[in-house]
């Protein structure tokens, strides 16, 4: 288990938990990032800018600090 910001590019990850203040958790939830979702880091903007992540048809840019609040782990084998 680690923060999404440390996760290698291109490897699917499953969200275990989103930490941080409540409005942030709700916001990410509204955007479709919550416990159980499988996502993938597809890149990073220049100058160590925002991470670009993708999950079920959505592409999202978010800052490293915010990505660190998304705890992820390896995907369970069956999915």
């Amino acid at each position: 288990m680690m923060g999404l910001h440390q996760w290698p590019k291109g490897k699917p990850a499953q969200v275990i938990k989103v930490t941080g203040d409540e409005s942030f958790i709700r916001r990410l939830g509204d955007l479709g990032v919550y416990e159980g979702v499988i996502l993938e880091v597809i890149g990073r903007a220049p100058l160590r800018g925002p991470l670009i992540i993708r999950y079920s048809g959505t592409t999202l840019a978010l800052r490293e600090g915010d990505a660190a609040c998304i705890q992820v782990q390896n995907c369970p084998p069956h999915s």
Binding site: R27, G43, A45, I52, T58, R63
Partner: protein, 627 residues
Amino acid sequence: MHSGAKLSSALLVGPPNSGKTTLFNWMTNSRYRAVNYPGSSVDCLKGVSHARYGAPVLVVDTPGVYGFEADSPEEEITLKLLRHDEQMGHFDVVVVCVDYTQLERHLSLALKIRQLNWPMVIALTMPDLASAAGVNVPLKKIEELVQVPVVLVNGRTGAGVAELVTTLRSLQRSKDIPVPLTQQQMASLVKSWSAAEPASRLRKDKATTPQERTLRLDQWLLHPLLGGVFFIFLMVGVFTAVFWLADPLMGVVDDSFSALGGWIHTLFGAGLFADFLADGMVASFGSVLVFVPQIYILFFLMGVLEDSGYLARAAAIVDRPLDWLGLSGRSFVPLLSGYACAVPAVMAARTIRSSRERWIATAIIPLLSCSARLPVYALLLGFVFFERPAWMAGLALAVIYLGSFVVSAVAAGVLNRLVAKSGSSRFILELPLYRKPHWSVVIHGAFNRTLSYVRRAGPVIFTLALILWFATNFPRVEGEVSTFEQVKQSYAGQVGQIIEPIFQPMGLDWRVGVGLISAFAAREVFVSALALVFDVTTGGPDASIEGALLEKMQTATLSSGEPLFTLASVAGLVVFFMIALQCTSTTAIVGKETGSWKFALMQLVALNAFAYMLSVSVVQGLSLLGI
């Protein structure tokens, strides 16, 4: 339909970029800006459905929301409407737009809205993209799960819109509110939904879906190195194109207005009336319209980038550098618009999430080199590089642009230090799919934005230019006097001479002072004001106002006999124009958008005072060096 009957009304809601404005345009037969950038609508739009759909329905388009958490003022509006806030008016039905290619996420918002006791219908948008992506969830299945009517609408062709309006009308009659679900029902619905969806996605040749294309393009365009290089080249390209494409067009506008002036002179002969028509009316119109090509081209190119989906990526790319200045990628679009005109830029700042960031962005937007400054720079550089190759003036202009960029960055950085931090700043932005720009939308959108600039700024500029004409021509001086004497003894001349001491440290005299004061109507008025006080008239058919004015500027002297326009005084003027906030429309819109006239006035005073001090130091410094 009798006049007493109340129109039935529908509210269009849904996540950002789900096709609400596009649907609104189809329903009401209008052409508002619907582009591929999440959060492109910052205002509600109101319209009545077109006659081809039968009895009229009032339709209101709203800014997109992701959930019930308002993150910005414009989302707050939508949420208020959804919560049946009676102050916002009464609506019969809510239409929730759901992007067919993003079913899972968009439907979960629809489910939440379903709990709010509305007669409701789901408009399933982007069917063309969904079938290209191989999404194949049957409509019936969705209807079954959510238990509200679902209508498929195609934003490209308008198919399904008629059916949607019919459904709306029957819902309005039946007032059929779906029974709210219990917490458990919601949870099991979401579960059965997640189970159903992946299975129903057809396996398609992966490489051809819009999603895969987007992914592959992003590998390049968001590449840590190449992405940055591409971005820089693209921005340089955009600005070069704006000048390069606009220049001949601006020439055409300028020439035709001076030709019209000359023609009036030949038609009516000499005399006050002809002067009024040619130098008052026509020249003022001309000064409003010269910028139209530039503004249009910048808005057009922005529209292309926006609708292709790149602008959202660009915002992500500049997020890091903007973060150093207390801003974020959200500020990118407002700041870019600031290069055309500060007024739409300040309005676009609504999409900025954090109020602190919105505050900083609004404070620095007037520093960006808007197109109204261009004619002023063109004139001043035309003077400095008189009869020199054109590329030298071009290079100098690039330096000025870069300078204004640096000044605004420094200003943002300083404000970032001064203003207390409020919580952590965030940047979360959905990146839409790349799409082929919708040309008619882009062309029309740029046209509308340009038109609204002309409408807003035009009357002000025009009225002030006319007032200025009267102020320089009255009171009439008796007898045969030179025009110089006439201007000198006019109201404008008298006022100019009283306040001349203010302009002396800038190396200027009362005539340029009159120009600077008039520029508070709008910066570009400076040029026509100078033309008036230096008595440049629209003469022959091929003499442009600009050219004639440049000649006069070469020989103009201060009362001491020294030349008025020197390298030092012109540099001082450039610096002044770079920083000063000489635009009443900007102050008005800042006051309105921030809701704080104190802020708007403080900005006005601070920027002008700073511009004045810096300009004086430049002029004095350069004179000390003997330039």
